[in-house]
Subunit: 399 residues, 2 copies
């Protein structure tokens, strides 16, 4: 068997061959979860001027300094009510107050707001019962939204607060990375479906969708180099993902099809357990990833190779939540090999315990349904002992 | 001001008025991220029979017990190759072997596989160079997929591995909760858009989409009870969310519109900081949530009231990742009030530090763009001290 490639070496080497996905302009309201290709910085302040946060009376704080319930300060009420829909055209002179609603901008001259419950009106005057400090009950310019904030960063997934900021900036569209994937599930037994319906490609599709990628092609192919090569040539996606046909022995139809494209970079065989038969290539700056058709081996390649590779490129691919848990059985991996161990995390007297599930098996959907997380054992570590605290990536919650 | 309602009391009381969303059947391949209304348990085993995990020769382990490189054991090669596409029709007699590919089922009589590199063929015989144990290089029935596994649980969001399991079970569709939301952003200043484009409704839409809900209506309305009531009456969504018009003073158009529906349950005013003006009602078993139009107060209501309420109903609404961080400034909240404090988490000498951002302000999109998480201070706690370790919910990663 050929030498297996170190994951860290591949990740270091591959990045100089890879290009980022192309960029497209999409409407802001449909951009949630996509990867921004722009860094947008905010350009103005909200409120634009001091704004009342209560219903009450805009005043000069200095005018009401001596106010108390026993000696209310009378102020001349200028007419009308300041509302949040319009700019205040009045100017408050000393000794004056004006009715103001929550959300309305303060008039020139005012620097505080007396809440409605701390005053009463009588004969065209308002009597203030309590003093207010300068800017009391006022939201200052920039407090809600400020200049110079990073609304969204290039490479970041667009979150609800970034959508809000883009709308505030008057943007109708935003440039995002066209992060598309084509997935091909390869195998005569996949196409024939004798024992089971093929499902790994749908599982992998779900993984990419969860991570902000759009799966634009999803197909099956026989163990046929020509058929696989034709699919690769026709694929318009940024990343091509092939499942099955990656064996290190004779059943490497997929690998040979990739080889036939004369990619500028290609490795086959990774020091990862499971997932060692994976193959990574770059053709015209775009990644081609061939991986085992077995779901756990595929997940291992996605988490150990694909996710870090995309992050190195500058895409902020999200992590699963992580928790610390105590191992109930040791996990061992050969030195130099990355281990991808499925575990079941549950509450125990130590807090959280993690039970390793079938460490050897790579085809097991069982371990993904029964388990709820995985532990990555780095290259330089031979495993973890029973009783050791490890970091678990949770693919679903702890029951 | 009226007495504020305790969040824990409201959550305890409201659940007996609420119904779950209706159920609809959707295609399995489009079900990722939706809330399953079914519990599906697996009904068969994969592989159905012992299966080879290497290319090689299916044998009886007892036949090759004495094999070694210096004295290979010859076995009679029965014709053909077992492939992963078909059922093995041959039956292996003692002293026989048959070529088998990775993924093919073992024939009757065989109980192990000799890898191709541990044997050679000569004159219609295969010479085995190394012994194999019973079931060596074999995947046993149920190892990949087993009977009795929970493929998906009612109330759980459908994950990639559940989609895979549903496909294996031959399901083309799955019953999910029709978790729909209608959102109305209320305010004369919202409709007029004098100072800024309205954005809180789009922020809230993003929150619901991130949490597996489908937003089917998104509208604006003036401060007009009739207009708000008409929208509520016409809304076909499971949950109605109203933003703005919830003030505890005069500007409570939204609250009065909700009141006008004669809901079977209604509270206005929560002991939550920020977000105290929120209003929760139940009409015909469906929730109506009115909350501040300021984004941070809205987020506080969503996280402190809406998310726990939906979880109590049995929907497994996801959490943000959580980390422990050391507070750089104290957070104080009145006893009996839930605090929702925005923080910025960053790496520091203690590991992770959390800096509270503008604890008082509720309108601040700034704190959501500048910060990356929040801390919830429970009702029974008056806050946390500087230097105390707190749990932070991360709305985006730590830079």
């Amino acid at each position: 068997m050929r030498e297996l490639h170190s994951v860290s070496v591949v990740l270091r080497d591959v990045r100089r061959y890879l290009k980022l996905p192309g960029e497209v302009e999409v409407p802001v309201e449909g951009a949630l979860g996509l990867y921004s290709a722009e860094t947008v910085v905010s350009t103005f302040k909200l409120p634009p001027k001091p704004k009342s946060v209560v219903d009450g009376y805009a005043v000069r704080a200095s005018d009401v300094e001596p106010a108390s319930p026993s000696s209310p300060v009378p102020l001349k009420l200028s007419g009308g009510v300041l509302r949040p829909t319009g700019e205040a055209s009045v100017r408050l002179a000393p000794g004056e107050a004006v009715r103001i609603e929550t959300g309305a901008l303060l008039p020139e001259g005012a620097d505080a707001v007396v809440p409605v419950e701390d005053a009463f009106e009588e004969d065209g005057r308002v009597y203030v019962l309590r003093r207010v400090a300068v800017y009391e009950n006022v939201s200052l310019p920039g407090e809600e939204y400020d200049e110079g904030l990073v609304v969204v960063r290039r490479g970041e997934r667009i979150r609800p607060q970034s959508v809000a900021g883009l709308i505030l900036e008057g943007r109708e569209s935003v440039r995002v990375f066209d992060a598309t994937v084509g997935i091909l599930n390869v195998g005569d037994e996949i196409v024939s479906g004798t024992f089971f319906k093929p499902f790994t490609h749908v599982f992998v599709k779900g993984w990419f969708e969860q991570h902000g990628f759009r799966v634009q092609e999803l197909s099956l192919a026989r163990d046929d180099i020509e058929e696989i090569a034709a699919w690769l040539n026709r694929s318009g996606a940024y990343m091509s993902v092939l499942l099955g046909g990656t064996s290190m022995g004779g059943h490497d139809f997929t690998v040979r099809a990739v080889e036939g494209l004369s990619p500028e970079y290609m490795v086959h065989g990774f020091a990862v357990q499971p997932g060692k038969t994976a193959c990574l290539a770059v053709k015209d700056g775009k990644p081609i990833v061939a991986m085992s058709g077995l779901p756990v081996a595929a997940l291992s390649t996605l988490e150990v190779v694909v996710k870090p590779m995309l992050r190195d490129l500058g895409l902020d691919v999200p992590d699963y939540p992580r928790v610390k848990a105590v191992l109930t059985r040791r996990i061992t991996v050969k030195m130099g090999v990355v281990g991808f161990a499925r575990v079941r995390v549950y509450r125990c007297s130590e807090g959280l315990c993690a039970e390793p599930l079938m460490v050897g098996g790579s085809g097991s959907l069982t371990s993904l349904l029964r388990g709820n997380g995985f532990v990555i054992v780095p290259e330089g570590v031979e495993g973890y002992e029973e009783g050791e605290e490890v970091e678990v990536h949770l693919i679903r919650g702890v029951v």
